[in-house]
Amino acid sequence: MHRTSMMNDEIVRGMLELTPEITALPGGKRVLLTPRMFGVPQMVAAGEQSAWLLSLKERAVILGARCPKCRQIYAPAYLEWCGNPPCRFEQLEPVDLPDTGEITDADPVITLFAPARMSGRAPFAHGLVRLRDARIDATVDMMFALETTDGVIRPGIYSAGTPVKLVFKDNGQREGYITDVFAIPRAELTEVQCRKSPLYYSDIDWHEPKPPAYAEDAAHAGRFAEVRAQIAGFFAGVNKSPRNQARLRVLDFTVRMVTGGGTLAIAARNGSMELLSEIPAQTTSTIAVENPAALSDWTQGKALTNLFALGQLWLSNREGVRLLEDLDRLWRAATRDGTL
């Protein structure tokens, strides 16, 4: 869909609405709903950003800008004239930047709690990349979205110094925007892919992620039956909680939970949580954690989300992060309602 076609009449009418509606909230306090203020459709001047945005769209290249006086290289070419005071706003020279580099001297950030504009897209990561090769070394680090070929972004894939390669959306798919490009760890690519420039989205093998294969462990297997029983007891308390009942009425999901001691499945349906007697062929998400004791801890209030954030829990898809949040709320709500 072309971006301008999203400016349909309904959206524009909503944005231009002049008259807010006064409405009472539960408890009687009043709010003004949907005033026009700041809902401004815009046609933002691309101005000096045009050159690198067009290079991105038309050539799949990050255009930088080099100062002939101080030799700084800006990435991307977000300025036309150098900002270094002694250079007195010298005209910068365009330079094609390498599509390789490494994560700057800080571990990238993985966001789990999404702002409104990224709703449904967590977890996502972005990080600063020092674009360089044997020929060019950009002096400004550039921020990119960080992806992996292996399922959901998670800790341990990127850290400070990780070598990366830029991947561009395919020809005809790029809009001339920063979201046309992202970084991939070079370790996930073949030599051929690493040498190809530009490397496109369709050049990548986006394989279906598989849960980690845990070695058989007698201790974990012994603990697993106990954990199943704990989860069943936990759900009995959870399902008595009015807060949980209200929330579960609008939830419908199944989760396969793989551990080093065995696999189980749970579901939220018909307003309650269930421990399923069989593993369904299809589930909303799969989570994997080696030690089944982690699930026991979950029934006692330890957040599953934290296991994921610390790299101790594997998720099959992004949807799983939202489900972890739902699962973590069960204990809190039941505790507040006194049903555990």
Binding site: Y78, T111, V140
Partner: protein, 400 residues
């Protein structure tokens, strides 16, 4: 430059939502809180200059919202302006006010912060926070960082990760959780705090949900609605007011500010990701102006938006060596009975973060603590902007 004194402070109750007030009434609530601590015959007609700290127009739902506050607070024909520098807005407005008095152009001036952040609303989640976070994220450029999901949290997390890259042994989770527990315990003395009377333990902080990187929800400040005001006077008038209020003279002895680039890199003007250099430079400037060193500071009101950042800030303020910030927790320096008290009434983590008013709230905390405990030197700190690039520090001196 003439000497300038803090002669009055006031703040409203901080709340996640003030549904009973627009920012106009919030401003009047702040004004009333200020007057409650002044002589009965004092009113804002005595003030000749006001600088407002208001973070952004979107929170208030108006463009140039301060325009209307002159009527709301009765400031007709006063000299009047507004400052906005991200999370550092409050201290920047305070410094603007200081300059108005120190220059000799005004005898009595007021810095006033007000914020109505939680009118932002996300219809997708039917809650405010994702849209509040999104609104703050408009601080990043539309053509580079913003579309990638950058937020205040992610920018602080990046700084924290950068610091840890240089100092991997600092910022242990145990120290971070105890630090937050300490701030919250101090907040239990503050009925105006948003979270009052919630009790928070280090274990609760540790077990709370990670929202980004390894940072727990329990380590993050609360978003608040509220107002705070600071009155500054030249020496002669300050003596009269302090005699009337029976409060000691507290002088603004040192001020430092600095800004750094939002871009990280190796060029002359680029951000060093291992530090919050603007804070460091601002603190050095404030100490130099006051003629003191960090070892003389007894209380700090700092902009602790994220617990690990708060610890880094202590190092930037010179109160710990970089890489040894957690020692302040482990050796008891900033714990109960320690040499330095940080955020004596809860700070942003517990009392609240009504952005434009926050640094004034920090001054409120430091001012009262200095008087209560007869502490000779105190610091107020603010940071903010896209990637925490603005730093501001005040050094306050209790005259005996």
């Amino acid at each position: 430059m003439g000497k300038v004194y803090v002669v009055g402070v006031g703040m409203t109750k901080m709340a996640g939502r003030h549904l009973d007030a627009t920012y106009w009434k919030l401003a009047q609530m702040g004004g009333r809180a200020l007057l409650a601590k002044m002589p009965d015959d004092f009113h804002l007609g005595a003030v000749s200059f006001v600088s407002f700290g208001i973070y952004n127009d979107i929170f208030e739902g108006h463009a140039i919202p301060e325009t209307f506050l002159n009527d709301v607070l009765g400031l007709h024909l006063k000299e009047f302006d507004r400052v906005t520098t991200g999370g550092q807005t409050g201290i920047a407005a305070m410094t603007r006010t200081y300059d108005a008095v120190a220059s000799g152009r005004h005898r009595l001036a007021m810095a006033f912060g007000v914020e109505k952040a939680q009118d932002s609303y996300d219809p997708q989640t039917k809650s405010t926070t994702p849209m509040v976070v999104d609104t703050i994220a408009f601080s990043w450029p539309y053509w580079t960082q913003w579309p990638l999901g950058v937020t205040a949290s992610s920018s602080y997390a990046q700084i924290i990760n950068g610091y840890r890259q240089a100092y991997p042994k600092d910022l242990e989770l145990d120290a971070r959780c105890k630090f937050i527990e300490q701030l919250c315990r101090q907040g239990l003395k503050n009925p105006l705090a948003q979270r009052y009377p919630e009790k928070v333990t280090a274990e609760q902080v540790r077990d709370s949900r990670i929202i980004i990187s390894d940072i727990r929800l329990g380590e993050v400040c609360v978003y608040s609605e509220g107002a705070a005001a600071v009155l500054l006077a030249e020496e002669g008038l300050a003596r009269e007011i302090c005699a009337a209020t029976k409060r000691p003279m507290i002088r603004v002895a040192g001020i430092g500010h600095a800004v750094e680039s939002t871009y990280v890199g190796r060029g002359f003007q680029h951000q060093n990701i291992h530090l919050i250099e603007s804070d460091k430079v601002a603190a050095e400037r404030a100490y130099a102006m006051a003629g003191i060193g960090p070892e003389q500071v007894g209380v700090v009101g700092q902009h602790c938006a994220f617990g690990p950042q708060g610890l880094i800030t202590m190092a930037m303020l010179g109160l710990a060596k970089p890489g040894r910030a957690q020692d302040l927790v482990y050796d008891g320096t900033m714990m109960d009975g320690g040499k330095v008290v940080v955020d004596p009434y809860g700070g942003l983590i517990y009392a609240g973060h009504a952005v434009g008013a926050s640094n004034m709230m920090s001054l409120y905390e430091v001012y009262h603590y200095m008087i209560e405990r007869q502490v000779e030197w105190g610091l107020v700190h603010g940071t903010g902007g896209a990637d925490a690039v603005y730093g501001g520090v005040w050094a306050l001196h209790l005259e005996k």
